[in-house]
Symmetry: C2
Subunit: 147 residues, 2 copies
Amino acid sequence: MYTIGQVSKLFHLPISTLRYYDKEGLFPGMERQSGIRKFSENDLERLRVIECLKISGLEIKEIKQFIEWCTEGPSTYSNRKQLFEGRKAIIEKEMKKLQKALDMLKFKCWYYETALEDGNEDRLNDMIPDHLPPEIQKLYDHAHSGK
Amino acid sequence: MYTIGQVSKLFHLPISTLRYYDKEGLFPGMERQSGIRKFSENDLERLRVIECLKISGLEIKEIKQFIEWCTEGPSTYSNRKQLFEGRKAIIEKEMKKLQKALDMLKFKCWYYETALEDGNEDRLNDMIPDHLPPEIQKLYDHAHSGK
DNA sequence: ATAAACCCTAAACCTGACTTTATGTCAAGA
DNA sequence: TCTTGACATAAAGTCAGGTTTAGGGTTTAT
């Protein structure tokens, strides 16, 4: 059994955040001793899951929903699966967008690297895409195409 | 020259957002005709840049800073480069975190797929990591290791 | 000349995820 | 005994990035 202060240190999370999660119902049925929260191993495991789900972008409400489903047994397997499938699709889209943004950023880094060397953007402005260095052209195309 | 309504449709952005961007100083020196905003080709190009920078996670303030630097000429090349270098590093970190989250989600999808087939989690709970299907084990390891 | 369809501003409101503040309880050590 | 430190709550505050509202002006087609 751990106090809130101990858990705070273990997980590098502010106490206020843990209390907030509790208030939002992320630790249903947590034990208390004369009003004081006692985190069990089970609660720590729950907190580990919460951290994973947060990284993948779930809102507190969705995490709460998931935790509730977990207490309801096999009848909610398909709900839980759907939740994860949906989130997987969103993350995959997100990563594609980020890859594009990353290419754009690489292009911009090259651009200003070159501008710094030249002291101006004249050469860059005159350079039509076909005459960019090949590896930069790829970034440029990627960064400037489609959505 | 475009009105705010036309730009709104071209970029699929609410009018209120465009006005908000303007208020935040993202279109310095935009023309007006008897009070009404007139977006030039230049402003549209600026908006394209804004969209890119937003995807890569820059705050409005940082975008404004960048736009200001652009009007200040060659003396700010290195500032601009640093801005993009910094953002590039952040996105790269972000993508690694997302890849982990994605592996976790894939693992969870497999988990509930299996639970649905079995009607319970008994087999899953008894299964020690070494006995997971190899491609799932990889996901599991990835999703459960380190930070 | 009047109604519809645009445009404008300032200011209030919204959301999510916390954090801060004000106030109070309780147990252990000097 | 008294102070310190860790715990508790409720309620208000914070932040970004918008959105909504209230109150007006302008332009265009009939």
